[in-house]
Amino acid sequence: MIRLSMMMALLAIGSPAAANMADQAHRSKVDGIDLITYRSNVKDVVVIIGVLPAGDAMVEAGNIAIPTLSGMMLDRGTKSLDKFSISEKLDNVGAEITFTVGVQSLEIRAKCLRKDLPLIIDTLAAELRTPALLGGEFNKAKEQFIGELEASTQDSSVLASEAFGRAVFPEGHPNRPHTLKEYIAAAKTANLEELKAFQAKYYGPAHMTLVVVGDVSDADTQADVAKAFSGWSGGQDYLRAAKPAAAAAASELTVPLTDKPSVSVLFGQASGLRYSDPDNLPLRLGTAILGRGFTGRLMSTVRDKEGLTYNIGASMGDDSIVDGVWEVSASFAPALLNKGVESTRREIAKWWKDGVSEQELASRKQGVIGGYFVSLSTTLGLAETILANAQRGYDPSWLDGYPKAVKALTRDQVNAAIKAHINPNAMVLVEAGSVAAPAKSASTH
């Protein structure tokens, strides 16, 4: 049994180098970029991660393939260097820069040695500011994108997620996904002029956040960023939903697939909450008690006691910028599907009706806080937490504020949040796989 005093000892040492972790973070505006640097104990290693609002949801009426294609064009050469020369430059110092495109953001990840940080920031700036955008490379990016999309059209988890997102979020909500078919059709007709216009409008420092963590000097990093991004302008803010999504009516959807002996299941609803809403953290803790880890109620019963699944869990997400989702995900063999869904429904209903116990909450709070500090023990973990906090609207002091907020939660707060925001009678159920008798086929595939 781990006593509370031991946990407090962990909290006390959780800050590797300072009484408050936030004291190690330095936030500044550099040429319009929100730059956060953090000097950690690691030697020589620097991790750079960042975001700017240029994700899939940005093209409300335009070609939906353009944001991803824009991101794919960034490592395909700049005005001054072709893609092979850039790759060679990075390879020769063992550094990496990658770009991915999410719902709302273009996401940047880079890793290098301390000595190479100026080179990496220079390269990153050139890729963002002056991409070559050659027609031949654009066609290759399109073919690559279409191929990747087509490869996903038999993936049960991708299709379950697509059908679920479209069922719980209404038209116009930033979190409502397009279908694979829509993306494939859009990619086929995308043109370079649209892409150039997109980059001109959305790529800029105005709402960009860059987090640099590791063996760094705050002043040197600020100077490097200032030099590389000097004179850059533009950029748009994130999309904010006019009002939170309401829970959709209860529904059951099936995505039938051949030769998929494990059925991907999603079960849940729009949460109606952003991360920064007061009820979010209590509901997150309540959700963790229901379905996080091996001791969550779902794993304890549906997997451990009943042996119905390899994996089942409950979570909240997609809520950093707009209201997000509450969901249970699981996989079942077709023969055990009905039993598995029934058990899942039973556990959710019990959780909603009776709430969580004092003991469960105390234990989960300890675990969440302990896990938080373990996650901060790597440079990447620290960088990801700082960036997530920034996207959610928090300053670096939330590094220290988060565990305190978790510790202060009460059972009444958690149970009230569950009752207020979860409706067991308005759940969307999606089953994707070799399901013999579908309830209602999803229209998305």
Binding site: I2, A151, S262
Partner: protein
């Protein structure tokens, strides 16, 4: 919780470069650790042996964060299984979470209850050559975890009711793997490439064995392999040597050496005398190809040259496979890598086809790239670039205790943990001539096993 072995080499790429070349004396603080013999120290890693029972301990002090990763690696994997018990190693790994005499759900102190209460990151995995159990926790929680890990080494509960519940869990893990046609393709390529060695069967086992292996067989497996002299403990992080050795002696010192020798595998793979081919036809959209060749065991000196060859073929946009296949629109991705094993390892070339491209085209392109290395070699600039990448990886690998412990566990499985330190040094010694030599030596057409995943149109399910 399977591990195919491919990760060994990927992680191997991140090995220590700045480590000392030769063994160093033990740290002064550990000289008086009664009951332990210091075996060797290399690259900041100290190896000890618990005299009473042969338990091996690797200590890697790192005070950069107040956390510790503790990992126990058993020298048993699916290579120790035979027909009827395939998958037993993996099922036993699952059963290790069902409770032991002193730590179980009934007492409220089981491993998952303890570790989730303190926020530990934990799991277990089974591969062809080893099984491991690991957690990263705040340093104050280390003793609690060691106590549980030690108790389940010899006092595990193995109840038939638990096996029945866990069997369907494992079967669903098996089914999830079968959802992925490329995973199925790799399994079938391995089944064809290995005739005699137990790498022939997948680590997760055949479905019928998963369903029917009796609890008595699992008990037999446990009582054969779960002993201190068949295990290595790796402790990485904020530790003091004497204190952690004291804890290990306290909890593991109570066990004797195994009553019988740990069984050795004496099977050898017969020479392959011709090209082998497999075709997997499943619903899907795009095809894939794997071209596999058996190469020496993971400890062999030629592995460094093979690693260099793999990086030149597939690391980054300048890599030869990217230029020849991806940039030419033949493949969505293309890769070269080696699953490093205790016995004969497996080298694979892989490509995922683009829409409209034929298997023949892509296979020709993959083989052509191998042949270019056989006939014309690689350039000094290519070799120099890969060596520079290793120097950076040296620093990256030390960022996080779990990653260090995980890579060490894979080398333990291969049979020599010191390769964690020496393998990157070997890579620094590789010459262009070495790369050309291994390409000629190991990549003959008659020694190849080629697998095609051929997508077929999905049949509509009843009722859809």
């Amino acid at each position: 919780m399977g591990w195919t072995g491919l990760a060994v080499l990927v992680l191997g790429s991140a090995a220590v470069q700045a480590a000392p070349d030769k063994p160093t004396p033990p740290p002064a603080a550990a000289q008086g650790s009664a009951g332990f013999s210091h075996v060797k120290s290399l690259g900041g890693i100290d190896e000890y042996r618990l005299d009473s029972n042969g338990l091996t301990v690797l200590l890697v002090p790192d005070q950069s964060a107040p956390v510790v990763t503790f990992e126990v690696t058993y020298q048993v994997g699916s290579r120790n299984e035979v027909t009827g018990t395939t998958g037993a190693t993996h099922i036993l790994e699952h059963m290790m979470f069902k409770g032991s005499d002193a730590f179980n759900d009934t007492k409220g102190n089981s491993i998952k209850q303890m570790l989730e209460r303190v926020g530990g990151e934990f799991n277990a995995s089974t591969s062809f050559d080893r099984t491991n159990y690991f957690a990263t926790v705040g340093r104050e929680s280390l003793e609690g975890y060691i106590a549980i890990e030690a108790d389940r080494m010899r006092h595990l509960w193995l109840h038939e009711a638990d096996r029945q519940a866990e069997m369907t869990v494992v079967r669903n893990e098996y089914e999830r793997g079968k959802n992925d046609p490329e995973n199925v393709l790799l399994e079938e390529v391995m089944e064809a490439a290995y005739v005699a060695l137990p790498y022939h069967h997948p680590t997760i086992g055949w479905k019928s064995d998963i369903e029917h292996v009796p609890i008595g067989k699992l008990r037999e497996f446990y009582d054969t392999f779960y002993w201190p002299n068949n295990a290595t403990l790796t402790v990485v992080g904020d530790i003091e040597t004497d204190a952690v050795l004291g804890l290990i002696k306290k909890y593991y010192g109570v066990y004797p050496h195994s009553p019988a020798p740990i069984p050795a595998i004496y099977t050898e793979e017969p020479a392959q005398s011709g090209e082998r081919r497999v075709v997997v036809k499943r619903p899907g959209e795009l095809g894939a190809i794997i071209i596999a060749h058996k190469v020496p065991n993971g400890r062999d000196a030629d592995q460094a040259a093979l690693e260099m060859l793999d990086a030149i073929l597939s690391s980054g946009k300048n890599a030869r496979l990217y230029r020849a296949l991806v940039d030419q629109g033949l493949a969505l991705t293309a890769a070269s890598g080696t699953d490093v094993f205790r016995d004969l390892s497996l080298h694979t070339l892989y490509a995922a086809l683009t829409p409209g491209t034929t298997h023949e085209q892509v296979e020709r392109a993959l083989v052509a790239e191998l042949n270019k290395i056989k006939t014309s070699g690689v350039t000094p600039a290519e070799v120099a670039s890969v060596k520079q990448q290793y120097i950076a990886q040296d620093a990256y690998k030390r960022d996080g205790t779990a990653a260090v412990a995980s890579e060490l566990s894979e080398w333990i499985g291969v049979g020599d943990w010191t390769l964690y330190v020496t393998f990157p040094q070997r890579v620094q010694q590789v010459t262009p001539a070495d790369v050309q030599r291994v390409a000629k030596q190991y990549f003959g057409a008659d020694q190849s096993t080629t697998g095609w995943f051929v997508p077929v149109a999905p049949k509509m399910e009843k009722g859809s």
